[in-house]
Amino acid sequence: MNGIHDMGGMHGFGEIQYLPKEPPFREEWEGRMFALLATVTGLGLMNVEEWRHGIERMNPAEYLTASYYEHWLHSVVDLLDQKGILSISDLEERMALMERRRRTKDRPDKVQPSTTAMLRREMVPGALATGQSTRADVAIEPRFKVGQRVRAKNPQSLGHTRLVRYVKGKVGVVETDFGVFTLPDTMAHGNIQTPQHVYSIAFTSEELWGPKADPKNSFRVGLWEDYLDPVGDGVSQ
């Protein structure tokens, strides 16, 4: 979708607010949110592309004013509700309960859980060190070869995509074939893999930004095969 998140090439956001040093989490809740996302994606309650799309669907005004981990929270809450795992009304009820307890200084009884949790502390180091690769272990012939000229398609999909707006319709050259990966566009909508090659495409400055752009800049964008059309049938000069 042509969302506010797809920012490459926009003007008007002002200076970079650079800090030489900052903690990984500025506030405790940010760390908790981070760990909760690791939990829901790690357990497969949602996939990363669904979650990304949940952020992309935010209202642009809300997206721009909310902080980074608020985006995460928004998408996780929405998706858990949509998937019937945890309803927003249950969440709001719990918020109200916690707020009442805080006001009355009432401490909840410590309940010893009768079953073990799905994600336990001893599983964390292994899970983080492994990650969740989106490589697909299938042999597929690549449609494009290194050195070939390709044009990025110009779809106006309402769904999730990693085809950034600033390369749509632009011609580049296949520089690297990264191998076969699942397709975000279908993973976000029904967990459908659609495995295919992903390439690093080299674009010139003039192609992306016009004749006045500095020709000594160049760009590399990772694009899935479905995002690309061949240009002519030759190899670039």
Binding site: G8, G9, V77, L91, M95, V164, T176, S218, R220
Partner: protein, 213 residues
């Protein structure tokens, strides 16, 4: 610390928690209660990124590449080979399932961005800084890379190519900076001290060794 201490004085807020804070607490409370996760597991995730996973890891990779040409060649071959080479030093996993290393040379300066959000090689650089995730950097890194670098204090000579890598695919990028002159014979441990986070994003250069007049 093996579990999150909920009786810690900090939790007796004198001011009420913000709406967002309360929402996250409620979410945690329900996911814990429904046995998806135990609190100690959430603590372990936070601790990992606060204490173990950060740019020192990436600096160790780059220092190795500076002293070992075979290792460097592996880093600069395929993403799968570089990921394996990085894993040998103990760094792998979430948001670094594939890490490609791109080399700065006398003619090319690389810089990394994620215009769509915040993709970044967590196992080697840790979590991305705020400015990297922010709209000004994401929007302008592609349309005005030299201006962005200048704003961050790095003036790349006009004759040098600036190559921008947008992390749209599931391959994370990391810059191998040029080894500073005057570091012949330095050990990996000494070299590591020169390698900053920003030099591996490409928005900075390594520290220079002290010069003896």
């Amino acid at each position: 610390m093996t579990s999150h201490n909920h009786d810690h004085p900090d939790h007796d807020h004198t001011k009420p928690p913000s709406e967002v804070e309360l929402r996250v607490k409620a979410l945690e409370s329900l996911l814990v209660e429904r046995r998806f996760v135990e609190r100690a597991a959430l603590d372990a995730v936070v601790e990992a990124y606060e204490t173990k996973i950060g740019p020192r890891n990436g600096a160790a990779v780059m220092a190795r590449a500076w002293v070992d040409p075979v290792y460097k060649a592996r880093l600069l071959s395929s993403a799968q080979e570089s990921t394996a080479a990085i894993k040998e030093l103990g760094f792998s996993g979430t948001q670094g399932e594939d890490i490609a290393v791109v080399e700065n040379t006398p003619t090319v300066h690389n810089m990394i961005v994620c215009t769509l959000c915040s993709c970044y090689p967590w196992p080697t650089l840790g979590l991305p800084p705020l400015w990297y995730k922010s709209a000004p950097y994401r929007s302008r890194a592609v349309i005005d890379p030299r201006g962005v670098l200048r704003e961050l204090g790095l003036d790349v000579p006009a004759e040098k190519e600036v190559r921008v890598w947008d992390s749209t695919a599931e391959v994370r990028y990391m810059v191998l900076p040029e080894r500073p002159t005057g570091t012949d014979g330095w050990t990996e441990a000494q070299l590591m001290e020169l390698i900053t986070r920003d030099s591996m994003i490409g928005t900075g250069l390594p520290k220079q060794p002290p010069t003896i007049p």
